[in-house]
């Protein structure tokens, strides 16, 4: 199984991506560069969420807590206590991981089942919003403004634009590779077993608590780190964007549209929908605010009704039909 | 009255019933025997329209009902007393009976049918306001049959009515079945209890792994060596 991972790692596709990444961004107008960066943020977030939501089949709506911690806490630590943002990133990730572990433990201890898990994580997400909005240290309802990005790497500054692009590219690829690695490791196998039949998994002696905690902690820490990088790019730590349940609903929908539980599914969904949404917003946002979300909603409903396993499997089928001789790389 | 022609039904594309044919004339009691997992419940649910058959056809009183919904079949009088009784546990006996007669054809005659059912099962009269879930197994079987009668059945199909009942109750229920037959009802009786069924039914089919292994008049089926073999799964 490990070979699969190394094969992916050695794939020539990376070379192509690297060359494109080096050549394209300087040529892109800044507006399109922004769209590319945003797409990468959501590729990273959707892939991170997939470890819990897709592989373990647990629709967690609490991930806005981890993203929000990564963004708001690291910013607050810097502004209020002067903590270097690299250290802030680590602190936030550790706290997010601890919260994730706690949620996984609660899920295990009380044997929540799928529906209760969705409901409880939604309640946690809402509580997170209320706490951030009511706590001045984290910026309250008005948010926090980071100092200007002067490109000082040691202060977690990447010079905006192209620098942010590279950071997001690294995070997105890391997030996807972690997906590939988990899917091809025992952890991935056990998570699928738990997802498909938790009782059967328990009966054959799978240590459910261990795997649930592992998945949640990896996913939470990853989301937190992405949150920190995202807020550095945005400069403004906006609680209505970063801690609201809407961000997690978007992520769930991207992952669903792409294909839950697959290594590239959520990334595919985000790559498809984020540019679509952003371009729509750019063109029509002034006259029709909300149009891009509206379209996301319509797309996800259509995909669920027509291809419940997501669009990626559909594309794979077309692809392999178009090139029947091609080696099937997953 | 009922003709089943080369019926094939299954779950998820895997056939369970393989080419089953049977007939039932008006006023007959026909027994359908078979070991566990032979496909008896699958057959009765196909007759009720719960699953679309993979092939074959079902005719009732000369009419092709193969494509009819469960609701339409209830309305033309094909009524099932399901395996395990499946009474509505949180509802009173009275409400269960009312639900039995909820179909468009029977709805307006419910008071009359209710009197008939309660006369047939005086026990239910005493328990009219009690929740069905609190009844004993035998009483629940009475309720399930009563509920089916409320629907003004023309063909009454019973799926293992003796399952889990004490011998006394089994005697009682089979007495009721005989009485309903005497009143002119056509009955398809699904059972595992071989001797009992052979005694009460005029003709029998023996189902073995989704196929009809033996059929004929009850005494013929009784003496056919294949019956016991199908039964013991040899």
């Amino acid at each position: 199984m490990r070979q699969e991972f190394y094969k992916t790692l050695m794939s020539p596709v990376w070379l192509v991506i690297l060359v494109l990444a080096a050549v394209l961004p300087p040529l892109l107008p800044s507006y399109y560069l922004h769209i590319v960066i945003l797409s990468l943020v959501y590729v990273a977030l959707a892939s991170a969420w997939n470890i819990v939501g897709g592989m373990a089949g647990q629709i967690s709506l609490a991930h806005s807590l981890f993203i929000g911690t990564g963004a708001m806490l690291s910013t607050a630590l810097l502004l209020k206590l002067g903590v270097n943002m690299w250290l802030g990133l680590v602190i936030s990730a550790v706290i997010s991981g601890a919260m994730g572990a706690m949620i996984a433990w609660i899920d295990f201890r009380f044997q929540l089942g799928h529906l209760s898990f969705v409901l409880i994580t939604l309640a946690f997400a809402e509580m997170g919003t209320v706490i951030v909005e009511g706590w001045d240290f984290l910026g309250g309802a008005s948010g926090l403004l980071l100092p200007q990005d002067k490109g000082d790497f040691l202060a977690f500054q990447f010079g905006g634009g192209i620098g942010a692009f590279w950071v997001m590219l690294v995070l997105a690829i890391a997030s996807i590779l972690i997906n590939v690695a988990i899917l091809n490791a025992p952890l991935g196998y056990y998570l699928r077993t738990i997802r498909d039949n938790e009782n059967a998994a328990r009966a054959i002696g799978v240590n459910i608590l261990r795997y649930k905690v592992a998945a949640m902690v990896i996913s939470a820490m990853l989301s937190s780190v992405i949150g920190t990088a995202y807020v550095r790019y945005l400069t403004f730590a906006d609680p209505y964007l970063l801690v609201s349940p809407i961000i997690i609903i978007e992520i769930v929908l991207f992952a669903t549209v792409g294909g839950l539980g697959r290594a590239y599914g959520p990334a595919f969904g985000a790559l498809l929908l984020v540019p679509l949404g952003e371009i729509l917003r750019g063109k029509l946002g002034g006259t029709l605010p909300g149009l891009h979300y509206f379209i996301y909603g319509v797309v996800v409903i259509a995909v669920i009704l027509m291809s419940p396993r997501g669009l990626l499997p559909l594309f794979e089928k077309w692809f392999s039909r178009a090139r029947p001789k091609a080696a099937t790389t997953k | 009255m009922l003709e089943v022609d080369h019926l094939v039904t299954g779950y998820g594309g895997v056939p369970v019933l393989q080419d089953v044919s049977l007939t039932l004339s008006a006023g007959e009691i026909v027994g359908l025997l078979g070991a566990n997992n032979a496909g008896k419940t699958t057959l009765i649910n196909s007759l009720s329209g719960m699953y679309a058959p993979m092939s074959g056809r079902i005719r009732f009183e000369g009419q092709d009902v193969t494509a009819m919904t469960p609701k339409q079949r209830v309305e033309i009088g094909i009524i099932q007393v399901p395996e395990g009784r499946l009474v509505f546990p949180e509802m009173s006996v009275r409400e269960n009976l009312l639900l039995g007669g909820i179909n468009a054809r029977a709805r307006t005659h419910r008071p009359r049918q209710m009197d008939h059912v309660l006369e047939l099962f005086p026990r239910l009269q005493e328990r009219l306001g009690q929740k069905a879930g609190t009844l004993s197994g035998g009483e629940q079987q009475m309720l399930a049959i009563g509920r089916a009668l409320m629907a003004e059945a023309k063909l009454l199909m019973l799926d293992e009515p003796s399952l889990g009942l004490s011998p006394l109750f089994v005697q009682y229920i089979f007495g009721i079945i005989d009485r309903l037959h005497a009143e002119g009802l056509s009955i398809l009786l699904i059972e595992q209890n071989l001797n009992l069924t052979l005694r009460h039914a005029q003709r029998c089919y023996v189902l073995e792994r989704g196929k009809v292994a033996v059929e004929g008049a009850s005494d013929v089926v009784k003496d056919d060596p294949r019956t016991r073999r199908a039964y013991l799964g040899l």
């Binding site: 509580m127 929908l253 | 509505f88 546990p89 949180e90 909820i102 179909n103």
Partner: protein
């Protein structure tokens, strides 16, 4: 003491309407197992329809009901028939994602039509007060209380003593057996969903007078409803109405005796504890 009584009145009055919101969700869950995450956005839809009718025809929200209730009922029926019914037999989780998608569609459809500014819909009774000793209550709240309980009692009677009500309960208790009675299960599920959305149209008008509305509020209403339903027991009628009152009271007292933030956290805290320790809610399902 006056403050205490004031909060008591306020909590009970608003809580009754929360109960009504939750009855719709509980009914739908009971017959089709669907937890509708766009529930709150349908409430928004009801409120904005009232706003539109006020802007266009100067109708009072209570009068608008004549139009919004049938309209929303039909919309609910169509949504179930074309979007949710095809999901029967699929994984339950897909329904969660589908209704989340529906929530985005509704919320942003409203945003596109009405814009994002908070809006008010005036009503003739909006500023009328009722003074009972130390306690001052707003007339719209009293109307909401009376109508909510009347609706709840009406629904209860409908479930107990009509054929449609018994069909709903039959599908809830055993859908297979219900089908064998000749009940069209899909039809009952569709009508129940339509009924649930129709109830929301009424609840929307009850909550509307004096309340600023904005398109993004839907999720909050969904969460409040979920909390009430979890508290009362998904399919327990009396429990749900009680749950509504408890959440109404905890909101009212929370904002008085605790800080704003803690007050707002209180219902969620109660919810999490209930979910963890009593997954069936406060009272065991007995009335259905």
């Amino acid at each position: 003491m006056a403050e205490f009584l004031q909060a008591l009145a306020q909590g009970l009055l608003i809580g009754s309407t929360y109960g009504l919101l939750a009855l719709g969700m509980g009914l739908v869950y009971g017959v089709s197992g669907v937890v509708n995450f766009s529930h709150g956005d349908f409430i928004s839809l009801g409120m904005f329809l009232c706003l539109a009718l006020y802007s266009a025809l100067a109708l009072d929200p209570y009068v608008s009901l004549v139009i919004t209730v049938p309209l929303m009922t039909v919309i609910g029926g169509l949504v179930y028939w074309y979007l949710l019914r095809p999901m029967v037999g699929h994984q339950f989780l897909m329904v969660v994602q589908l209704t989340l998608g529906l929530s985005l569609v509704l919320q942003n459809g409203i945003l596109m039509v009405f814009g994002g500014q908070p809006a008010r819909t005036p009503s003739v009774v909006e500023s009328k007060l009722l003074i009972l000793g130390d306690v001052v209550v707003r007339v719209p709240h009293v109307i909401a209380f009376v109508v909510s309980f009347a609706m709840a009692i009406g629904l209860y009677i409908m479930l107990r003593s009509t054929d449609f009500g018994r069909s709903i309960r039959a599908v809830h208790q055993n859908a297979h057996a219900a089908a064998l009675m000749g009940i069209d299960v899909s039809r009952v599920q569709t009508l129940t969903f339509a009924l649930g959305i129709g109830i929301l149209a009424i609840a929307a008008a009850l909550l509307l007078p004096g309340t600023p509305i904005q398109p993004a509020q839907g999720l909050r209403y969904t969460v409040i409803t979920l909390i009430v339903v979890a508290l009362g027991g998904m399919t327990n009628f009396v429990g749900i109405m009680l749950g509504g009152l408890i959440i109404g009271l905890s909101e009212a007292y929370g904002t008085i005796y605790l800080s704003d933030t803690l007050g707002m956290l209180l219902p969620y805290g109660i919810f999490v504890l209930i979910m963890l320790f009593r997954p069936q809610g406060l009272t065991w399902s007995s009335s259905r």
